[in-house]
Symmetry: C2
Subunit: 334 residues, 2 copies
């Protein structure tokens, strides 16, 4: 997969990084009018290919029609991450990147790859949606449309606290060693996945046994799958992205000075803000309040018992992808 390299990157924290690598994938080509570029950033545990179920031939986003750029989050193990960095910034010493930093790097990539006046759409799930909000607020004249789903413009205190819990589960493993582990802290990674799973779905999902259509006989089987999945991630990479997530806020920068209503009001993109109704951390109520402050946003919640994972690309609520496609069609056809 291609890598874009930026040198001497000054982060929001003030720290300068000699070299930042941004991994990306492109599906489709820029058209002659240069108006079909779509940016679809990755989510918390997403690699580029994970986004593929969200688009395809004949779908609302179609690589035959659109040029879909999928940049990887810093920390996702493909872009610069604690696990793939050597030298003084490696591992536990890896610097903190904000969503703002991520999007600034993505903008540099877009300017290098494509000479476009505007991006047609920025879209994403979860932390991918946080990046869509950030794109719209950081570059109001550059983003024509945005569609964040199961995401909010800032990480709420409760969302922050939930992440503290799963972090605590990981770092309780002494093998984590403050991030300076020689072998993966397996107990901690399993605990992270197990503690996370209770938040990723909803009360209704578990109590109605909706894990059964996914092939899990019991909730314990599902939890063990989450353990296995998290064992495949590097602990510091996960913690790097948790930090990014916890500090998500489109207003905490020199432009908006922490004034979220002003940041939301400055967005010029046509937007659909799409929470899932039972999402336990990117909550519908918060998404609704935020959408009401964006001049050109429609609030379109997806009714689901599946919580945040209503929109997980690997196994979404069966109704979600058609619902998403409808929204993309509506947004793109205006």
């Amino acid at each position: 997969m291609p890598i874009h390299i930026e040198r001497d990157v000054r982060l929001q924290s003030g720290r300068t990084v000699d070299e930042v690598r941004l991994s990306y994938a492109i599906y489709g080509e820029l058209n002659a009018a240069r108006d079909n570029l779509v940016i679809f950033p990755t989510y918390f545990t997403g690699r580029q290919s994970c986004n593929e179920p969200y688009f395809g031939q004949g779908r609302a986003l179609d690589p035959n029609i659109h040029c879909i750029l999928v940049p990887s989050l810093i920390g996702n193990s493909d872009s610069s991450s604690p696990s793939n960095t050597t030298g003084p910034d490696a591992g536990a010493a890896f610097p903190n990147f904000t969503i703002h930093d991520n999007v600034r790097l993505q903008r540099a990539l877009v300017d290098k790859l494509f000479q476009v006046e505007r991006v047609a759409l920025v879209i994403g799930w979860s932390m991918g949606g946080c990046q869509a909000f950030e794109w719209a607020a950081q570059f109001p004249d550059f983003v024509a449309r945005a569609l964040p789903f199961c995401a909010t413009a800032m990480c709420s205190t409760h969302n922050h606290v939930f992440l503290e819990g799963v972090k605590a589960a990981l770092t309780a493993d002494g093998d984590w060693a403050g991030g300076n582990y020689s072998a993966p802290p397996a107990r901690g990674l399993r605990a992270f996945g197990r503690a996370y799973a209770g938040w990723a779905y909803s009360r209704e999902f578990f109590n109605r046994r909706l894990y059964r259509p996914l092939g899990f006989e019991t909730s314990e089987d599902l939890l063990q799958d989450w353990e296995r999945d998290h064992l495949s991630w590097d602990a510091n990479d996960l913690l790097c992205k948790v930090w990014t997530w916890q500090h998500a806020d489109i207003s905490v920068n020199g432009r908006y000075h922490g004034d979220l209503p002003t940041a939301l009001n400055a967005i010029k993109a046509r937007m659909i803000v799409m929470p899932a109704t039972t999402d336990m951390y990117f909550a519908e109520t918060q998404a609704s309040r935020e959408a009401s402050l964006i001049p050109n946003a429609e609030f379109r919640p997806f009714f689901s018992h599946w919580g945040h994972c209503a929109a997980t690309p690997s196994a979404p609520d069966p109704g979600f992808l058609p619902f998403l496609d409808d929204a993309i069609f509506d947004l793109m056809s205006e």
Copy 2:
């Protein structure tokens, strides 16, 4: 504090325990009519004295009028617990006790201490409320009234999954050593408390910063208080009670054979079922369904942004204790 001893106790699991100690406290005295006995079991991290804010002179429950018996949960460090047991049942080898086992032991205590035909009221918060449900279902003719608050008649799958997450946080600490620790697994205990706190309140509690009236400037200050609090508990004692909680179900016994509607329908007590509206695990929707199946139950939810901790006796939602007193008055005056 007094201790009741039962010998050769056969548990639901089939296991027999040579000696079980049930710690208890009594506030007030049995009256001449023998009709003023109230049972108020302890909750998950409750000692007997923790229940004291729920009653007092001039209150709906008044030791000058009522005889209030507070039995301690098995595993709460006062009754038989992994931490205070010696011999082959000590520590990690401590047997599993169900809510059913707890209530059978409490009934033996009541029969020994008091020769009453009926208990006037069984009441409790959280796991204390689970015991109130169990009393009403296990001894329908013996329980005149019951008032479980922030509790349900069975532990839902989602509730079970949340507890798996906090258990995983504790047991990720290698010092836990499968329960055979020589010193407290401090990282794990802290992680347990930190991960638990995100569930104990509600989204609204955190996002509206309702921890500030409690004296915590930031959510981090609150999380650190939860860490400190859990450091004072024995890890195996906590895990013992988590097991009890996860297996709570008034119908899983020889009388009801797992048929929860039948068990609820068999309750003869006059009841008020009182969830808090934003409780994240003993959910209002479940309490409502259960109450609708109890012949003589009123469903009376407490509206609060405080989640499960709306009713925590140390620092409840300011409106809760008057609301509880009203309900007790209503129930006792009929």
